[in-house]
Amino acid sequence: MSGALSGWLAYAASFGVLVLVQGVACLGLNLQWGQTGLFNVGVAGLVAVGAYTSAILTSAAVAGHSGGFGLPVVVGCLGAVLVAGAVSGLLGLLTLRLRTDYLAITTFGVAVVIDLLIRNLTGLTGGPLGIGFIPRPFESLGLGADAFRAVSFVWVALVVLLAYLLLERLVASPWGRVLRALREDERAAAALGKSPTRYRLQSFVIGGALMGLAGALQAHTLGFIAPENYSAALTFQVWAMLIIGGSGNNRGALLGSVLVVALWSATGLLAANVLPPDWQARGAALRIVAIGVLLAAAILWRPRGLMGESVTVSRHLDHD
């Protein structure tokens, strides 16, 4: 393979990993918002919970720090899923019985609290410096940098594929049917014995767990994490992905991730190469503006997103 080609492939692989990581978070948001109508503006907080949980569980012990359990990456990822799911469950228990706008306010508040915690629990999270030397699968094989990126893409893709299949199975099930009924007419669904709180809570927990998984995948592909990865900009990006790709459609959520990450990378390159030095600091803000413009265009011209909601029925009904 020529150097240029393998360089290009390596770039594609890194791009793919970014898409997949944010795509998982977007799948989680699609379950919460697209399938259930729950407005979560604390996505970044749950991604952070997953990233830090897995990083703390898997990193080697460092003098002066708590955590550093040195556990396998698989355990870290499962831990991230469980802890992020539990945090979502707690949040849901507190707010899902109330009006839906309380959920929005609470999720935002929780994201702020999580941000404060990871910045200030220095002994556990490394504070503003974050956590480094997080184990990356297959790193010890001593592959070249480019091959390593490709391998990372493959294992992350397999994890995301598994999550996607589990999610699709759930959406196209009697359980998914209850969600759609609840979204359309909560009162009628309740009269049929479907507890709105129970199903919303389940959806919120599974969605939050997927956001936690996104964080874990990010930690184990980057190898280091820091608080500024989990700012409100991340929440905004994931929302933009969902709205642009098509709320209510898992493939739409993934397509939206491709587009937003592409725009994010392209504007990043552009900013670095075109903007004068004294404008560089403003580059980040301009990238957000670019996504905002794409989002506005999508809302104007394709209000249901590129893919739109798919008509789903229980997969058990298709075959006879």
Partner: protein, 267 residues
């Protein structure tokens, strides 16, 4: 099902559903005002009264959709007036709405299948860990739902989204949906309004047959001939209160009832 039969005969004399001193006020106005009622297994109780008498509000209280301002509700021996609406079917009570509430985006078949209770596929982990059990449950639910749809003459529309149904068809869909759950007590709020007379007759027969098997019905209906045909007992409401109750013949002959319908009631 010997145990079931035994339980039914045991509860035959005890009321299946009992409300005492039920009150619901909206901004100080009592839409339901000190209502007592008691229904036994297999009974069809008619609930009639002029528009605004409080019939639907009474049903909403019984179904757990409104909290009573005062009073108690006992369903199969359990106090339920504070329990949320979604728990009623598990406790044995189902309902239909006066203004039908179909899930318009879902198919007619899916609407009815949602009436199934304790469906394995409605639990998250069963879908991942026991797909064959979910598949079997789904097949059974579909078969039962198709039967009900055939009875309601809706089978040809099974795959259509429920939003295409006419008002009368929506009423039938609601009926099929609640029958799917096979509740012990069913609240029917004007189930026949807008339904074709031939089908009304079939439906009344079906309701009477289910009642003979032990299902209890509360039936709100403006068509008094229908009430007279299927109900053993009728409760007349006016301005939130129970005006009279008794056999259909006695009630319909009562001069106070005619007066209430003419709007002359005062409290």
């Amino acid at each position: 099902m010997k145990g079931d039969a035994e339980q039914r005969s045991m509860t035959d004399d005890r009321p299946v559903l009992r409300a005492r001193g039920l009150v619901r006020a909206f901004n100080g106005i009592r839409a339901v005002d000190a209502v007592d009622l008691s229904v036994s297994a297999g009974e069809i109780l008619g609930v009639i009264g002029p528009n605004g008498a409080g019939k639907s509000t009474l049903f909403n209280l019984l179904a757990g959709e409104l909290l009573p301002t005062a009073g108690t509700i006992e369903l199969l021996g359990e106090r339920v007036e504070r329990a949320p609406a979604a728990t009623r079917l598990a406790q044995g009570m189902g309902r239909t709405f006066q203004i039908p509430r179909p899930f318009g985006a879902l198919s007619v078949l899916e609407n009815v299948m949602l009436g199934a209770q304790d469906h394995a596929g409605e639990r998250v982990f069963a879908n991942w860990l026991a797909p064959s059990r979910v598949h079997a449950a789904e097949r059974d639910a579909k078969a039962r739902a198709m039967e009900l749809l055939a009875f309601m003459k809706l089978a040809p529309l099974a795959r259509e989204p429920a939003r295409v149904l006419s008002i009368g068809q929506r009423k039938l869909l609601e009926l099929a949906r609640v029958m799917m759950a096979a509740p012990r007590v069913v609240l029917l709020d004007e189930p026949m309004a807008g339904v074709h007379p031939v089908l009304v007759e079939t439906l009344s027969e079906r309701i009477a047959a289910l009642a003979r098997e032990g299902t209890t019905f509360l039936l709100v209906e403006h068509q008094l001939s229908l009430i007279a045909a299927v109900c053993q007992r009728v409760l007349v409401m006016a301005a939130g209160r129970v005006l009279v109750s008794g056999s259909p013949a006695a009630v319909l002959a009562d001069p106070r009832v005619a007066e209430a319908y003419l709007g002359g009631v005062t409290t």
